[in-house]
């Protein structure tokens, strides 16, 4: 068994999801099956392989794909120019509970 009931509850808590009691076992079984399948990744020898964190074509070859140098050489930074972004009211209009200029939420700090 890859994942226990307790772990499902812990993960749900981390993900801010409330699960109904009957859902816990369903998800446990399904996650267990998926994690067992994903376990095949352990078969491969990945020593010396860099994780892929860039999708730039010249780096698509694997091992060299994430060197910080390659990323730094072509940082694709745009000029830092101030542009107007007067959207507060538009954005707040979508909020379930807004008290302009704020989003209102249940009390966070006690006393």
């Amino acid at each position: 068994m890859k994942i226990s009931r307790e772990e499902v509850l812990r993960v749900a808590q981390l993900a801010h999801l409330d699960l109904a009691p009957e859902e816990v076992e369903t998800y446990r079984g399904q996650l267990d099956e998926i994690l067992s399948y994903v376990g095949k990744l352990q078969e491969l020898d990945v020593s010396g392989v860099e994780p892929m964190t860039q999708l730039r074509p010249r780096n698509a070859g694997g091992e060299s794909s994430t060197s910080g140098a390659a990323a730094d050489a072509d940082p694709e930074l745009r000029d830092d120019v101030v542009v107007p972004c007067d959207v507060a009211n538009t954005v707040l209009a979508e909020a379930p509970d807004a008290a302009k200029p704020f989003f209102r939420v249940p009390k966070v700090i006690e006393r």
């Binding site: 999801l17 109904a20 998800y27 998926i34 491969l44 392989v49 999708l55 698509a60 979508e94």
Partner: protein, 481 residues
């Protein structure tokens, strides 16, 4: 094709210029057709006639004045409901965004409208684009217009169905692990996933940011190429969009394919591949050989690890991206006694089962103690999969595979087993992980009349190469092979 004469971008243009029909009349015809057909297909979630007619009227005004028409003038287009449209409800197929109306347009939408396209409405999809059958939509499944008891594929099932049914001339979908190409194959139409970074993701509501791409569905390769030429290109609002020149796809695609080397990886033709799909794709490859291509057998040894890699990487990114749905700034809020209580209740009520499953899987893969074993390892295997491709593209100009292991399956057939559903993406996720472009083109039908798709991959920014092969295949009758 249900319409007697399916419209294409070119026939719309010709009809407008010849004043045989106005853009407004055309849009009206399409809305009437949608009204008749959509109840059984459930492919559109929302229509935006006001916006469509306003755009159509401006096209008609340009025609009346004899002004030059932009490339998509008056062309009806449908948009997957994960792409933001200002003032038009955008739900992502989720209850958590049931009332959400974006305050801005995605860059792809802006470009389509600037090119004269008439947006008809938003198409149904799996919730947050998570699924391979469109059965994960909170608004009910889409039916495949070719066979109503079957799924249209997913997650862009609605976008594929509306074009296949003639309810729109073209559409936009999104592809994270196969979500454009697989429904294209199931519904029997061309469907293209561009290179990562080729089309701006600005305004695309994120599922897995290192994998998500926007791309077109069409009925012809020429139309797919025309849409690509409109939506491709750099956008300063998407820091991952590439600052690469956009080639003239229509000109490039007309070139001869004689002499091109096409790679055929044996790893894509093994266990689990339906025999009719295999036979048709083999026939498709033979046709390309007849047209002068050289077949090169390939081995891509990490193919078998792609689904496992994908479901770690994609769910990890999703668990992070979907943290924003907390009931505070937009969408659903379920009241709670505390802030945490509100978050949990909102997410419990708002998300469907597959989305919760993926959020939990991703949270688990990123959690302390498991990060190295799952996420970090998957990112390393992803490098190996990408290297399989870069090694292959040293030897070949394109790679040919089936798009999906089977034709469209029946509604309800795979809903009980999430893992089995994931395996429908077995041939498409590889290209997603590598960041390369791919297309699915129609490649005949099964004896039961179900469409089969053939997939063509090229190296990064090789869209023109893909379109060139796809166009030659189409011209030689490959779609009906």
């Amino acid at each position: 094709m249900s319409a007697a004469t399916p419209w294409t971008i070119a026939t719309v243009r010709d009809a407008l210029l010849a004043k045989k029909i106005s853009a407004r009349e055309l849009a009206k015809d399409f809305f009437a057709h949608i009204e008749r057909r959509n109840p059984e297909l459930n492919a559109f979630l929302a229509l935006c006639p006001q916006r469509a007619f306003a755009q159509a009227d401006s096209v008609d005004a340009a025609v009346a004045k004899g002004q030059p028409l932009p490339p998509l003038a008056g062309v009806p287009v449908a948009v997957k409901d994960v792409i933001s449209t200002q003032g038009v409800r955008t739900t992502c197929g989720s209850k958590i965004l049931e009332t959400y109306t974006p305050p801005y347009d995605a860059t792809a939408i802006e470009r389509l409208e600037k090119a004269g396209a008439v947006i008809l409405g938003k198409t149904n999809c799996d919730e947050f684009a998570m699924g391979s059958s469109n059965e994960n939509s909170a608004y009910g499944p889409v039916r495949n217009p070719v066979a109503l008891d079957r799924v249209p594929g997913g997650s862009s099932g609605g976008s594929a169905a509306v074009v296949a049914a003639g309810l729109s001339v073209i559409s936009l979908g999104t592809d994270t692990g196969g979500s454009i190409r697989q429904p294209g194959a199931y519904c029997g139409i061309p469907a293209m996933m561009p290179t990562y970074g080729r089309v701006s993701r600005y305004g695309l509501i994120a599922f897995a940011s290192s994998l998500d791409r926007i791309g077109p569905f069409a009925t012809t390769i020429t139309d797919a190429a025309t849409v690509m030429s409109v939506i491709a290109g750099h956008d300063s609002n998407d820091s991952t969009s590439a600052d690469e020149a956009v080639p003239d796809y229509l000109a490039q695609m007309a070139k001869t394919i004689a002499g091109l080397r096409i790679g055929v990886p044996e790893d894509y033709f093994g266990k689990g591949l339906d025999f009719e799909v295999k036979a048709k794709v083999e026939a498709g490859i033979a046709l390309l050989e007849k047209l002068g291509c050289t077949r090169v057998p390939l081995k891509m040894p990490h193919t078998d690890y792609a689904i496992a890699t994908y479901y770690v990487v994609a769910t990890a990114e999703a668990s992070s991206n979907l943290a924003r749905y907390d009931g505070v700034r937009f969408g659903l809020r379920v009241q709670g006694n505390t802030l945490m209580d509100m978050y949990r209740k909102t997410r419990e009520r708002g998300f469907g089962p597959e989305v919760k499953r993926r959020i939990m899987l991703g949270t688990y893969a990123l959690s302390s103690g498991y990060y190295d074993a799952y996420y970090l390892r998957a990112q390393k295997v992803r490098s190996l999969i990408a290297r399989d491709f870069s090694d292959a593209f040293e030897k070949v100009d394109a790679i040919l595979t089936p798009t999906a292991p089977t034709p469209a399956f029946k509604l309800g057939e795979k809903t009980a087993d999430p893992l089995e559903m994931y395996l429908a993406d077995i041939y498409t996720v590889t290209g997603s992980l590598a960041g390369i472009p791919g297309i699915s083109v129609p490649c005949g039908k099964t004896s039961a009349g179900l469409p089969i798709g053939m997939q063509i991959f090229a190296s990064h920014f090789g869209e023109a190469r893909i379109l060139q092969l796809a166009r030659a295949f189409e011209k030689a009758g490959g779609f009906a092979i």
